[in-house]
């Protein structure tokens, strides 16, 4: 039941976040699906004993790969999918607890939690980066223009 509710809500929040960024209508559902699957990975890995950081990293890698693949399929920039997809992974609750500890004067706990937040945020960044790099083996990182000589291809 919880899983089903989570799937629906993560799909919904990714779609809603896509709408905030005005993504084209035809990419809306695909973006939501990316967010939903990412949330599923993010929640199911800790069941098998993975740390939160690893789960976030794996989910972010998935988001990156999926959005690159979709961008080739649908011929739209991949940002359309990845921005909305990372929403369910945002370390909101640790960031909140960090602020709560600082406000309560518990600086030691605050710093511990701040590091935890940074690890989660770094895991998102690293995952997105790894996905981009893996994908670039197939596609080349960006079709960097080269003056004149490379124009022929």
């Amino acid at each position: 039941m919880y899983v089903l509710l989570g799937l629906v809500l993560s799909f919904g929040s990714a779609v809603a976040y896509g709408m905030l960024f005005n993504v084209p209508v035809r990419t809306l559902l695909a973006g939501g699906t990316v967010g939903m699957l990412a949330w599923l990975i993010f929640k199911s890995l800790p069941v098998f004993g993975a740390q939160i950081g690893l789960a976030t990293f794996a989910a972010a890698t998935f988001i990156s790969l999926a959005s690159q693949w979709l961008s080739v399929k649908l011929r739209v920039p991949s940002t359309n999918f990845s921005t909305a997809g990372i929403i369910p992974l945002v370390p909101g609750s640790t960031a909140y607890k960090t602020m709560l500890s600082f406000v309560n004067g518990d600086y030691l706990q605050g710093i511990t939690l701040a590091v935890e937040t940074c690890v989660a945020a770094g895991a998102i960044a690293a995952g997105l980066t790894l996905g981009l790099s893996l994908f670039s083996i197939w596609k080349g990182i960006v079709a960097r223009y080269a003056p004149k000589s490379a124009k022929a291809n």
């Binding site: 919904g12 084209p24 011929r75 920039p77 990372i86 929403i87 960031a95 997105l128 960097r144 003056p147």
Partner: protein, 249 residues
């Protein structure tokens, strides 16, 4: 009077300006402009883009042309980025003439956002509400958070019109949503303040800046990537301060 050469420059700069304003990565803007100019038969095409300026130069026969413009930030609109991308792809593959491409770009620039304002604030509210439940809140927590999310979205729009200070806008919008949630919590003590507060701040999360900064850094645009990264960090900090302010009351 507009010569053919001028027209190439106009089209490239227009495409670049729309894309950069609508929140495209800088390497995408550079590529798009360079592709259009090369397809128009210009030599030695170089473009250099930072989050606030565009410089394009090319050589037409024995004449050099360079143009630089300053771009002011607009609202994020990925639909426009996608459309400009399509126009440039069609022009490069020869399906559009330069004249047609320019016309299309002018139309794209005038386009209103795809989703009307009410739909966007509804989406903002829904994102907030569902994030609250995803983190462990109950369905009852969802309702006040949805209203708070809509308030946050509306207040960003209004505050931005009054004062053009980016990070302060987000801080104030976070405060508005946060105080609403705090009020709800005092009225109905059964709600979970922590989950509601996290959900309320979600629409302010700098998702665009984070992804764009990473993609720019990987594409080798270190300056653009760093400046977008700093933007993301500052936004996150202003949200954090807003949260702290609400919590300390």
């Amino acid at each position: 009077m507009m010569t053919a050469n001028n027209h190439v420059m106009e089209t490239c700069i227009l495409a670049g300006r729309i894309m950069l304003k609508s929140g495209a990565e800088t390497y995408r803007v550079e590529d798009t402009m360079a592709h259009i100019a090369q397809a128009a038969g210009m030599d030695d095409v170089y473009s250099s883009v930072t989050p606030s300026t565009i410089i394009l130069s090319y050589c037409d026969g024995d004449q050099d042309h360079t143009r630089m413009i300053r771009v002011f930030r607009g609202s994020v609109d990925l639909n426009k980025v996608t459309l400009v991308n399509q126009v440039s792809r069609h022009y490069v593959s020869g399906q559009l003439t330069l004249e047609q491409a320019h016309q299309h770009l002018l139309e794209i620039e005038q386009k209103k956002p795809q989703y009307p304002a009410w739909m966007q604030s509804l989406a903002s509210g829904f994102a907030s509400g569902s994030f609250t439940v995803l983190l462990g809140g109950t369905i009852w927590d969802m309702i006040p958070t949805m209203i708070a999310g809509m308030l946050v979205n509306k207040s960003i729009v209004y505050i931005e019109q009054v004062m053009r200070v980016k990070f302060f806008t987000e801080f104030l919008a976070g405060c508005v949503g946060g105080f609403f949630v705090l009020l709800m919590y005092h009225l109905f003590p059964d709600l979970h303040l922590n989950y509601m507060l996290i959900g309320t701040m979600l629409p302010l999360f700098p998702g665009m800046a984070v992804t764009n900064s990473l993609r720019d850094i990987l594409a080798g645009d270190l300056v653009a990537g760093m400046s977008r990264g700093v933007e993301a960090v500052l936004t996150a900090l202003s949200i954090a301060v807003a949260t702290a302010l609400v919590l300390s009351l």
